[in-house]
Symmetry: C2
Subunit: 235 residues, 2 copies
């Protein structure tokens, strides 16, 4: 089995950073670590790479096992590889991030699994270097969302333009002009207006929209520039 002589083998872990949106604020899914060290502290959902799987497979397996989720937007981020990052044993961790519509899975996740949603603004301190991994993931999410329509992953099938605007404002921690926002969004021709309205947050009600799934899949990589200078977000 060990055919390259004189080399060190080590553990490869996958840690999943899962963002959820409930219509108002951005949240993060965390679990209480079930084994030593740091047992009982909050942690990202993680696991070790198995002999017969790729990293993508491992990320999907771990996400499913710990949350029941399948088929979500899952992106490989940078690796965490400082030699002492796991005090127990040398482990290189590969970060993945996922985006989900929180309402869709809220009960399922919190009842069947020992995971909890935290407001990003009220996130507890995490084990090892997980805090930094989350920071990086947020930065990457913001960056990606400037150029790609990924944020729709965080909304229900039917949503209103004000809700969508809330989401963008939550992610960028800023305010947009609704006229310009609506015009930009609709100019993508990615949304289909519905006949019915959501009256839960106003008397007048706001029209529901649905994603045009075909166009969404096809145009995923040609979106628009929501944020004038996306670059400051990466540093």
């Amino acid at each position: 089995m060990h055919k390259y002589p004189g080399q060190t083998r080590l553990l490869v872990a996958v840690d999943c950073i899962i963002f959820g949106f409930d219509g108002d604020a951005l949240k993060l899914l965390l679990i209480k670590r079930g084994f030593e060290p740091e047992k009982g502290k909050w942690s990202l959902m993680g696991g070790f790479l198995q002999p017969d799987e790729s990293l993508d497979n491992a990320a999907n397996r771990i996400l499913k096992k710990l949350t029941g989720l399948e088929g979500v937007f899952l992106e490989q981020l940078k690796n965490a590889s400082a030699p002492q990052r796991d005090p127990v044993e040398r482990t290189v961790s590969v970060a993945y991030s996922a985006l989900i519509d929180l309402n869709k899975y809220k009960e399922q996740i919190s009842s069947e699994y020992h995971a909890e949603w935290f407001l990003l603004s009220k996130k507890p301190g995490l084990i090892f270097d997980h805090d930094k991994m989350v920071e990086d993931a947020i930065r990457k999410l913001r960056y990606n969302a400037t150029m790609h329509p990924i944020l729709f992953e965080l909304l229900p099938d039917k949503f209103t333009l004000p809700k969508l605007q809330n989401l963008y404002e939550a992610i960028y921690d800023t305010q947009f002009d609704k006229r310009n926002f609506n015009r930009k969004i609709l100019s993508t021709a990615l949304l289909v207006k519905q006949k019915d309205k959501d009256k839960s947050s106003s008397k007048k009600g706001a029209y529901y929209y649905k994603l045009d799934k075909k166009k969404y899949a096809a145009n995923f990589r040609s979106f628009l520039h929501f944020i004038p200078n996306p670059d400051h977000l990466l540093r």
Copy 2:
């Protein structure tokens, strides 16, 4: 040492994809693999992650050991992790890419080290999944270069606008209007015009420019859009 019981340890490798530009065409640095299997075949510059180093450290160490290069633009790309990608033993490889001014290091590299430059268009087939890793790296390079002034890493200290345009045209395999190109480039205020000219490729001669190093470092993340729709490049 093995304190997480029941888990598989494996090798973590770093492979470096090194791009060079000689003023005309984009090249790739390869070495002949020195050990079995696939000994004697062309390969990326790689090595295994050592116990006491991070991945970034390993990439820099390997690059220096195999080429003598230090302090170049080195970016972590995605991992290659298919279970059978290395037929000898399970290995996860982390790809890094670097950009260098080929003329600056040409002799050093090819004499002291057993590495060779290949025109990208005439690259031989590589071992394992290295061909795919190179493809991904090119795609990422093109994408990054649409928004960041990274391509200056590929040019000498003094260069002319036509040479810079050649570089962009080589990377995107396309043609630009020189009026628009010059205007765009100069509008960044990142270049400082020199008094002397390069007469090697015309009678009239083209003015040299130098990078304003301070502005380059500061403005690295606010560049311009050279390529109308950068997104098709990622897939």
